[in-house]
């Protein structure tokens, strides 16, 4: 009896991998249907998952195709893309985070949209820059996001403080709002790309540039963060906070202001008693224009070898970024339309997004200058921030020391 059980178990164990491979084989074959487009993206959480699905369904209907959509967690997307490219099972339509696009385009895995006469006019420069590799546009984004300063209306009103617009005002306001368990400001200086992304508005606004990080402008921006933490206006824990943690601190009333993006707005809506407003990221000198980084995802057409389907996929990508879709997605997901002419209409419909829409108009992409080299610069930036905030290096030496690592 026991022996038979063991045999059954062994048999099951032996068959399972076969069954699994059979499944994955089947998945690849469905790509053969000429009227079915496979789609891969990382909107695996609600409400984004459903909202994106609605946009995709609209386009599927418009182009008279059926779609097969797969969503994976954000951090797994690139691994998935690499796996599927080596097994030649790339989807027909692929979503990528905009700073990853050039890296993937450089591999030759994506088709340029100009091959299929996709109209790329009217889009904001920043997002086209992010989607361009060697003078060819590889992807389109319906909406984008960026960073701004959120403030707690109640706390600021109680203290009689106006939302800060310059660094000096930011420091004074943050210091004045720091009482007891409450810090004036929260931001994320974590040792990941998130930390670098949060630092960019300060660095860029002050004239700093990722092509040369050893400049007084960059050091000055870092000094601002060091001052905020050293003076106690921001918690030392910023070193370990992700942007989601920053939002939690803000919601819990542990921080009166925070640097964050509009994707936190649905989360903030869950606590209606916390009244908040937004302004653009403060500038060092009143003459400066706030320049923030551009976030958001672009839709691309991978090279699958089936030219007819690639053409269909290109039309699909164009459809996702159509005016109607842009406005719909922007309104529901609190992101900003990428076509500059839609800005006015959008702000009228969603007034809370005014500051972010202004911010997007001047926003820059992270990969515009360095392209595939951006990840290295991003690593240097977050390492330098960590070195300076922990007192391991002065703001002048931090970037050089980080670059040596």
């Amino acid at each position: 009896m026991k022996k038979r059980q063991l045999t059954t178990l062994l048999a099951i164990a032996a068959i399972t991998p076969l069954a699994l491979t059979a499944c994955s084989g089947g998945g690849a074959q469905t790509g053969g249907d000429p009227d079915t487009l496979t789609i891969l993206d990382y909107y695996n959480n609600e409400p984004d998952k459903t909202l994106i699905q609605a946009a995709l369904d609209t386009c599927a209907e418009e182009l008279d195709v059926t779609i097969e959509r797969e969503t994976v967690p954000g951090k797994d997307l690139i691994q998935k893309v690499l796996q599927r490219s080596s097994s030649k099972t790339l989807p027909d339509v692929l979503m990528l985070d905009n700073p990853d696009l050039q890296e993937i385009a450089a591999t030759g895995g994506l088709a340029p949209l100009s091959d299929y006469d996709v109209d790329t006019s009217g889009f904001a420069d920043g997002i086209l820059e992010a989607a361009t590799y060697e003078d060819e546009v590889y992807g389109l984004a319906p909406t984008v996001n960026t960073l701004g300063l959120f403030y707690n209306e109640t706390l600021l009103a109680e203290a009689g403080i106006e939302p800060p617009t310059t660094w000096d005002e930011l420091k004074t306001a943050a210091a004045a709002l720091t009482t007891g368990d409450q810090y004036g400001l929260a931001f994320s200086a974590i040792a990941t790309y998130e930390g670098s992304w949060q630092f960019l508005p300060f660095m860029w606004t002050n004239g700093g540039d990722e092509t040369d990080l050893n400049t007084p402008e960059v050091a000055e921006a870092l000094q601002l963060w060091v001052d905020l933490v050293d003076s106690g206006s921001a918690s030392k824990s910023v070193l370990n906070w992700s942007q989601a943690d920053v939002k939690d601190q803000f919601v819990a009333g542990n921080a009166a202001m925070m640097i964050n993006g509009p994707w936190q707005i649905p989360g903030l809506a869950e606590t209606p008693d916390v009244k908040w407003g937004t302004v653009q990221v403060p500038v060092n000198d009143e003459s400066q224009t706030p320049i923030a980084p551009l976030g958001g995802e672009v839709w691309t057409v991978p090279v699958t070898g089936d030219d007819e389907k690639q053409a269909k996929a290109a039309s699909f990508v164009e459809c996702i970024s159509s005016d109607d879709n842009q406005l719909e997605l922007a309104t529901e997901r609190y992101t900003v339309p990428t076509k500059t002419e839609l800005a006015g209409e959008y702000v009228e419909a969603v007034p809370t997004m005014e500051a972010f829409t202004e911010q997007v108009a001047n926003a820059r992409s992270r990969t515009g200058q360095l392209g595939e080299e951006w990840p290295e610069a991003a690593t240097v930036i977050y390492t330098a921030i960590q070195l300076a905030l922990t007192g391991q290096a002065s703001v002048e030496d931090a970037f050089e020391q980080a670059a040596a690592g």
Binding site: S235, K236, T379, Q392
Partner: protein, 327 residues
């Protein structure tokens, strides 16, 4: 018992086989012997084949692939084009000359030694404690397994909030005792200690379980006899428990070292190698090079160095074990 029968070759001939063998004429005997031998051989091979296939497929191939990868310029492009230019030992040079290599090697050593020491001492103490009979013993012992059952990513997220400098429950508790808040995860000089403490917490169940099993195997008669000779308490532990537990201890320590060297999720979840690279280990470097910077060749070189270190401990263990068997 089964193992000895399987390994001692010709022995399983039926009890009446031996006398019959002597009486048979030369040729048939030889034939029969050959037939028996070959059949047995095939059976033996059949026993080995599944395991061998498994090892070649799931251990041999990845290890070889990893070594090859570490000698190539293996990047995102490789996945699309299939081309990975041969660069010889260039990746290893990059690894060893990088500024983070020696600090991360030191951190790996400190992390491993600290974790193993803590896990083992606390694990052994708890195992010895649970050997006594008292009410709720089984219940408490199974509760102790909890850290083991929690997904590491959940455990590290929870610990991250516990160790938060301002709102973390641990610092709040220390505050009520009149102590200053400790910057657990935000001060480069404390972070490694904090990460080690969490890893000790994760590793205790494993140590308790295996050591408790080892303690159960020590016959009570030994303690009874020892007690008659005056070996009780600490003396009993020193002269009866410890010598009898040694084989189990060496297994626990070896596995502990191998598991701890490659710890990734806990550090990623707690600090991601920060603050200011204070918790970078070889495993973190390997992960970040491969899956953050997409330099798979350099990542593979880091992981091969890690595998070599693990192998070193495995060899030490095997040698120590052989000496024990020889004794």
């Amino acid at each position: 018992m089964t193992t000895t029968r399987l390994t001692s070759g010709p022995a399983p001939a039926s009890p009446d086989g031996a006398p019959r063998r002597g009486t048979l004429p030369g040729r048939t005997r030889k034939q029969q012997f050959r037939r028996q031998f070959s059949k047995e051989n095939i059976t033996k091979i059949l026993f080995v084949v599944p395991a061998a296939l498994y090892i070649v497929l799931f251990f041999g191939y990845p290890v070889v692939k990893n070594v090859v990868m570490s000698l190539q310029d293996y990047t995102t492009k490789t996945f699309f084009t299939g081309e990975a230019p041969w660069v010889g030992i260039q990746n290893y040079v990059t690894v060893i000359t990088s500024n983070l290599f020696w600090p991360s090697l030191t951190n790996t050593a400190l992390f491993t030694i600290g974790s193993i020491l803590g896990q083992f001492v606390i694990g052994l103490a708890l195992a010895a404690f649970f050997k006594r009979r008292f009410p709720l013993n089984n219940f408490l012992r199974s509760m102790l397994l909890l850290p083991w059952l929690l997904p590491l990513i959940v455990a590290s997220a929870t610990w991250r909030s516990i160790l938060d400098q301002d709102s973390g429950i641990l610092n709040r508790f220390l505050g009520t005792l009149g102590l200053d808040a400790i910057p657990w995860l935000t001060d480069p000089s404390v972070a490694l200690t904090a990460v080690i403490l969490v890893n000790i917490w994760v590793g205790i169940p494993f140590n308790v379980t295996i050591l408790y099993g080892g303690l159960q195997d020590i016959p009570d008669e030994l303690y009874e006899a020892g007690a008659l000779d005056g070996a009780i308490g600490w003396k009993a532990f020193r002269h009866i428990t410890w010598p009898n537990l040694r084989p189990v201890v060496s297994v626990v320590l070896l596995l502990g070292v191998v598991y701890t060297l490659k710890v990734l999720d806990i550090i990623l979840g707690l600090t991601n190698g920060g603050p200011a690279n204070a918790t970078q280990t070889l495993a973190i470097r390997s992960y970040q090079e491969s899956f953050v910077n997409f330099e798979f060749g350099v990542g593979a070189a880091f992981s091969n160095i890690l595998i070599l270190i693990s192998l070193l401990f495995a060899i030490i263990y095997l040698r120590a074990n052989r000496r024990q068997v020889d004794e």
